[in-house]
């Protein structure tokens, strides 16, 4: 047995808790999960059935843990883990499953196949066979956390420039983007890029919120690697920042995996040091609208709009009605995709797959069912509250000629707030609204 295999098996053993063993044992191989997977929908082959994929890990598990399998491996399909099997497991977990859990909610037994895919990811990461780019991105984030002074000055300069834009957009010369504000109520954690800073900043300023911007981004590639150690180190930067500033809550940008991890995993990783509320920006927007802290024009967006449920936000995160509440307040013609909510079809971009160029073709092919769903709505704007989903739908837009505009919820909210100037890149939309918007403003 090579050192890699030994390490892989040791990691699998360490992963083996009650939920994982249950997922490995419960499957009856009934095949009902087939159509729940977007890979199977796009290409109906046995290899794309979630149960088939999971069976690759089960065969290894059985060889190690099952009495009958040790005596008659052929009888139970048990297989000794070797290098080619490990390579095939890596490929399955990182290129054929987005961890969307649609198979789980459609399984009569509730088998958690993504939990098994996560276990494979953990095994491959520990044994050094996980995709290098994800490891590099996670490690870069960890390094960034160790010495923020390395990038902080440049970051503050960029924020100062953005602040000028913000004042221009809001028409408020006092509008600010506070950074490291001690005692602020909210620590807003963006993603990399002004598009996740400027629109929320406009909303926070209009709502007169007591907030501060995180110097770190919410993305956590350790989560995609299922490497709890790395993921914790990445999250620790923000937990420490929140503790240092004494904020009451952390608000996560429109990002699926970041919300799911900070809302549902991080409180477990940092039990005792984590007393903040975690909310998605979407929940905050919904509250502002409900409480009248921001005024939105329900006729502001006349185009047909559809909403894509990010799997991490909806099925895995419970944020199902909040985005709809916001959209129905700012959109005149809201159209649901079918199916939606807990049964929404994954776009194919989750699980870190958009970062893996080597599997891009497979990812875009698997997004076909989502592209068809979008087409069926006839909507002109597709809203996704997750950066990875937006990137993937952008690729689908190009490949399947959807001719749609892809946007975040906050961007539409800002449009509906009728601020004096549009967000950068949104000038054309303002023109598109034409006289209609002017009438409403008057």
């Amino acid at each position: 047995m090579t050192e890699t295999i030994e390490l892989a098996l040791k990691t699998l053993e360490a992963q083996l808790n009650q939920p994982l063993e249950t997922a490995l044992e419960a499957c009856a191989r009934c095949g009902l999960c087939a159509e729940s997977c977007h890979y199977y929908r796009a290409e109906p082959k046995v290899k794309h059935i979630p149960a088939f994929r999971a069976e690759r890990l089960r065969s290894v598990y059985r060889y190690e843990h099952d009495f009958l399998s040790r005596l008659f491996p052929v009888w139970t399909g048990a297989k000794k883990l070797d290098e080619p099997t490990l390579a095939s497991l890596t490929e399955i977990a990182f290129s054929q499953c987005t961890l969307c859990r649609r198979c789980t909610v459609n399984c009569p037994l509730g088998v958690d196949t993504p939990l098994m895919m996560r276990a494979i990811r953990a095994v491959t990461t520990a044994s050094g066979t996980a995709p290098e780019i994800l490891v590099m991105l996670a490690d870069a984030a960890i390094e960034k956390g160790k010495d923020p002074s390395f990038f902080k000055d440049m970051f503050l300069e960029q924020i100062a420039e953005m602040e000028e834009q913000l004042r221009d957009i809001t028409g408020d010369p006092t509008a600010t983007i506070p950074v490291e504000k001690q005692g602020a109520k909210i620590l807003y954690v963006p993603l990399a890029g002004a598009h996740t800073i400027l629109p929320p900043a406009a909303v926070f300023n209009v709502a007169k919120e007591d907030w501060t911007l995180s110097i770190f981004e919410a993305a956590n590639y350790g989560v995609f690697l299922a490497d709890v150690n790395r993921a914790k180190q990445v999250a620790k930067r923000i937990v420490d920042e929140a503790n240092r500033l004494g904020v009451k809550e952390i608000v996560i940008a429109e990002c699926g995996h970041a919300y799911a991890s900070y809302r549902w995993d991080v409180p477990n990783w940092f039990a005792g040091q984590f007393d903040f509320k975690v909310r998605s920006l979407i929940e905050v927007l919904a509250d502002y609208i409900r409480d009248g802290k921001i005024k939105v024009d329900p006729t502001a967006i006349p185009e047909g709009v559809t909403y894509h449920d990010s799997c991490n936000l909806a099925r895995n995160g419970g944020l199902i009605e909040e985005p709809r509440y916001v959209l129905k307040n700012v959109v005149r013609d809201f159209r649901e995709m079918t199916p939606n909510r807990d049964q929404a079809i994954c776009c194919g971009g989750g699980g870190g797959l958009v970062a893996l160029a080597e599997y891009a073709e497979r990812r875009i092919a698997a997004g076909k069912p989502k592209a068809e769903q979008i087409k069926q709505t006839g909507a002109r704007i597709v809203v996704a509250a997750c950066e990875n989903c937006r990137l993937q739908i952008g690729d689908l837009n190009e490949r399947y000629k959807l001719n749609v505009q892809i946007t975040a919820i906050t961007d539409l909210v800002v449009r509906a707030m009728r601020l004096p100037k549009p967000l950068p890149g949104h000038e054309a939309e303002r023109l598109f609204e034409g006289e209609e918007a002017a009438v409403v403003r008057e």
Partner: protein, 208 residues
Amino acid sequence: MVFFQLLALAGFLAGLYGIYIRYAQTKARAFPADKSPLKGNPSHGIAYAFTKGMMPWAKESTRLHMIAYLRGIGFHIGIFTAIGALIISPFWTLLPSLLSLTLGWALTLGAILGAAGGLMRIVEHNLRGLSIPDDHFAVWLVTVWMAVSAAAVWDEAWMAAYYILSAITMAYVPLGKIRHCLYFFFSRVFFGKFFGRRAVYPHPDVAK
């Protein structure tokens, strides 16, 4: 007949012990406590997982494969009936004839549904691709056992064969795929806890 009854009892107890061992092994593994603040209610999630969530119309998969799902449900009801029948088998002669007739037909129906499942595993492309030898063996073993159970309910001549087959079937439960009967309960509980905590299930009824 007492010998065969004892044989079946031995098989039954062996199966029960094997399942207990499996249960104890799994329970001995860590269960990660979830300290994240609740959004929904895990208990409601568990209740949903065992009731409304099992309804044929609750999931896209079961709506798409309604007949296959109902066949599976019927097959499993047949199996539990067969286990109940085995437990009371020494007293079958005391059963009212109508009940005896119903029991026989229930077991026959279970066997027919089992045979249909066994054939589907051979004929249907996806199921064939997914199946391992244990899957084929398990479904046919239980199917034949149910058929022989039905035969024994109606004709005492089958009793010896019935008890031998019962012993084999029961003893095999913890060894092969049939042990998913234990993990079904674990799985639905974990499902309910996970999605209940996050307020995904139960979810207010809205148009999908």
